[in-house]
Symmetry: C2
Subunit: 248 residues, 2 copies
């Protein structure tokens, strides 16, 4: 099941695929070198737990490749995803000792980690890191607020369409193409994970995907491979006024 490409670890920061988007994006060569001294890579297999909520967390880091989720669980087992971590996204919080949420790798994943203490010290001396982290956190806050509208006010069908448009948009961004017209991509989430993302049950997710397929909004090959013939139509189904919901 190991994907060679996904699991590849960059040799040094210059080669790093997230060099221009991660916390280190604004760093100069000398700053990068300082970071280089305290960084190390960790690989996770699909399904593996990176950390449990409440556990002591002595590192922070960036997702280099693969996907992870941030989830919250109630005593009775109800769970809500509160973050979807894609390459370049930051994990952990400077100044906090314990993880606030469960972090789970949903695909094989590589993280670029920094021991928390040295990172915090470096951050206080390197404005470029703090600046970038602020920018990223503000973006995440925007994404969370967009998500709140989805959770609070959209119908099941709109929720699914919203999620698909978010994934399609991100996928287009990776390929450096504009999200319009016909698009093809793979779902990085199981039906259950989609349900946890959207505050639905997996049965409702399945039903609504079937409905969107029946109505020609999407085509399915297998369970995960999706074709969107008309992206504008999808946005319409999501209830978004063309600009749409953006994900960090």
């Amino acid at each position: 099941m190991l994907d060679e490409e996904t699991q590849a670890v960059p040799r040094d920061c210059g080669d790093c695929p997230i060099r221009h988007r991660a916390v280190c994006a604004r760093c100069e060569a000398d700053e990068l070198e300082l970071l280089d001294h305290i960084k190390y890579y960790r690989s996770f297999e699909a399904g593996q737990t990176v950390i449990w909520a409440g556990d002591k967390m002595d590192f922070v880091g960036s997702v280099v490749s693969g996907i992870a989720t941030l989830t919250q669980t109630m005593e009775d087992g109800r769970t809500q995803m509160v973050g979807l971590l894609l390459p370049s996204d930051f994990v952990g919080r400077p100044g906090r000792d314990e993880a606030a949420y469960d972090v789970i790798a949903t695909s094989d994943m590589v993280m670029c980690c920094f021991r928390k203490k040295p990172f915090e010290e470096l951050m206080s001396r390197t404005p470029h890191i703090a600046q970038r982290l602020l920018e990223m956190t503000l973006d995440e806050l925007d994404a969370a607020r967009e998500w709140m509208l989805v959770l609070g006010r959209k119908t099941a069908r709109e929720k699914i369409a919203s999620l698909l448009s978010i994934i399609a948009r991100r996928d287009a961004a990776l390929k450096l193409s504009k999200p319009t017209g016909s698009m093809v991509f793979d779902l990085p989430l199981t039906r259950e994970a989609m349900a946890d993302y959207l505050g639905l049950t997996l049965e409702t997710v399945s039903r609504q995907i079937s409905a969107l397929k029946k109505d020609g909004v999407i085509h399915l090959e297998g369970k995960r491979h999706i074709t969107v013939p008309d992206f504008e139509r999808l946005l319409d189904e999501a209830g978004d006024d063309s600009d749409g919901g953006m994900l960090a």
Copy 2:
């Protein structure tokens, strides 16, 4: 309806009621003086709109007194509150020209504003401001994620109990007391605003408040004045495992 105390404008930063919690919390005397040069106060009456989503926003600022809401609206009129702005909370985003959400004063309110350009310049030269803003943004992100669990997975009754516990907790914090046992406070929101906060209709909000009252979880005097005889019981109704949901 004007509340003299609420509308009072601090003479200078030393007297400011939010001095120790706002963006300026970490600033030294000299930094405070720089801020003082670019700050000005604005007052809003209850119900007044501070800014509409999409409008050009040439300032940022802090809520000094009173309460405001951040809301998002879909074309068909469905609205979702995505932020509740209490004294010391920050409004606006450095590096962005347009407001992303509607900001509405729900009570008489005073803001301490800074023109955006000078503030951004000052921020790049004053790490203390950027540090504090990062800290506040991370707190807001945590609050947003707690809120996502409420929106996505809680029942109407749990949602109401969650909101009441958040307000009770914040109120206790203002009075520097611990949230336990018996508590008394006023609701700062209309039933409709509570509905927009929780992703419900105002009828459901009303019904669930009546139910909580009937079951003795809360007592009502008038529409807004609430007594919680047993805070632990309220947390239990909210489905929180004692630590509960915290608001920035």
